[in-house]
Amino acid sequence: MNPPAPKRLWQWFAHTRVGRSIFRVGLPQSNLERAQAMVSSILLHIQPAKVHRHSLKPGYTLGLGLVSLDLFFILTATGVLLMFYYVPSTDRAYQTMKDLQFVVSAGLLLRNMHRWAAHLMVLFVMLHLCRVFYTGAYKRPREFNWTIGVGLFLMTLGLSFTGYLLPWDQLAFWAITVGTNIAGYAPVIGPKLQFLLLGGHTVGQEALTRFYALHVIVLPGVAALMISVHLWRVRKDGGLSRPEEPGDVVEQRPLEQLPVNKSYGLMELARGTTPQVGIDPQDEIFSWPHLVFRELLLFLLVSAVVLFLAIFWNAPLEEFANPIHPPNPAKAPWYFLGLQELVSYSAFWGGVLVPGLLVTALVLLPYLDRNRGGVGRWFARERVVANTIFTICLLTAIVLTIIGTFFRGPNWGWVDPWKPTPVQTEGH
């Protein structure tokens, strides 16, 4: 039967001389072509030709890592466009934000998309971290990928934090003032670190320039590299984690046992397992179209959500930054509010020790966890201790963040958010 018109049109084009020179594999019609499509495409070849059936289960990964990646793409695209109007100068930054809102076509929409995607990305990276923990997917051989993941988490926070300053309004200025002050509490290196971040002693033009450079090129560049390594390791570690089955090969072929032919070709040298080794044929599924199409659907869904938020809710823009007029209270961005709450109890314990220990624990986690079981399942019984500890820490962080967000008012005093705010007699 005739395939529908777009497909026929595409097939015709793919077989012209021009088409054949661009697309080395047309729309895959056979299994061979399906495998070739993945390998011969620069965009697709970071993914394997076949994946395990289990990896496609939405209920397993919830697609959280992919959502984070999609948000990264959306942020990059909207961010590059915004760069054509934004000026990183203390005199002009705020004005360019107003201009984006009022006189630039689609300026408000793009700015909103950028802001909401940024908040969502921090959230989804955190959710992804939790998912990987609860499914034990950081265990051998995936320890180092977890470490890269923690690094990416820090990159995400860094990107969000550096971007937060750029509008140069009261919200931006004071959030970064609070945030860099927390950084300054670190022992020995704290004040030097703060000085380096700010390019001086106060949040001013130098800080804005540095944060802009970090935000648009340094951090995205490093993050992009780390993402590539992160995805590459997924492949080399045997695909996404899944429940162990008999016959799964986990050991790697030692390098000494090179074959006799010594051609040093790729197939001889490549170490590590591929998803196909030791897997039942009915468990393996071609990436084209199953994986790739699902990824496309997810990207459409993420785009739809970001667009929806951007159309109906505006990103905040407060008054022009005024260094002599701090708001009361001055709050850090939401992902640091838990830290700010801790810091209000003790600068050192809350600002340095606890977060320092947390990050160290996260990084070293796969090497501290000797229990090799419980991989590939949510809340596996044999991991109840680890899961409990993690959940307690997670809930604590959430509670602290909630307190910092809703229950703290002027002078960081306790307020009940359901009571009406007392009428301020000063000011307006």
Partner: protein, 162 residues
């Protein structure tokens, strides 16, 4: 060897056909609209340069028979009697600012000479100097529009005052 696991040739139902076409059309439209939106985004709606339309001043600010140089706008405001014209001061050769001579204009960069009408008398300039539209604004000022080029004959003529 694995048995082939490709899809069996399946007849596409009417619903499937519509779904497919609409799906691709919608996705293609979304992509095209986003690209068009991004391009439109990059076209500035306002400029932060001195405006091309400006007020040169009141008629009485200019003496009869004068060609007054307005530095910021790089034009000459020429008055003869009650007739006002505006001549561009940008040499058509390589863009230097021309100077007023006793009769006509002279470019200091490569020696182009223009007459009072802006036509090239000598020198490397390829074209005559441009005249801009002059009108009278609602608040009684000379209004020059550098977006509109006119011929040398085009001028603002004010009613003679007693």
């Amino acid at each position: 060897m694995n048995p082939p696991t490709g899809p069996a040739p399946n007849p596409v139902s009417r619903r499937g056909f519509f779904q497919l076409t609409f799906g691709w059309l919608a996705a293609a439209f979304a992509v095209a609209a986003s690209a068009a939106g991004a391009v439109r985004f990059l076209v500035p709606n306002v400029l932060f340069e001195p405006s091309q339309v400006f007020k040169a001043g009141k008629p009485d600010d200019f003496l009869d028979g004068s060609a007054t140089f307005l530095e910021d706008e790089r034009v000459f405001l020429v008055r003869q009697g009650n007739t006002f014209r505006c001549l561009s001061a940008i040499c058509t050769h390589l863009g230097c600012t021309v100077n007023r001579a006793d009769h006509g204009y002279h470019c200091p960069c490569h020696g182009s000479v223009f007459d009072d009408q802006g036509n090239v008398k000598s020198g490397p300039a390829p074209r005559a100097l441009e005249w801009f539209q002059v009108t009278f604004s609602k608040d009684n000022r000379i209004l020059v529009d550098k977006n509109r080029r006119v011929t040398a004959e085009n001028a603002l003529v004010l009613p003679a005052k007693v």
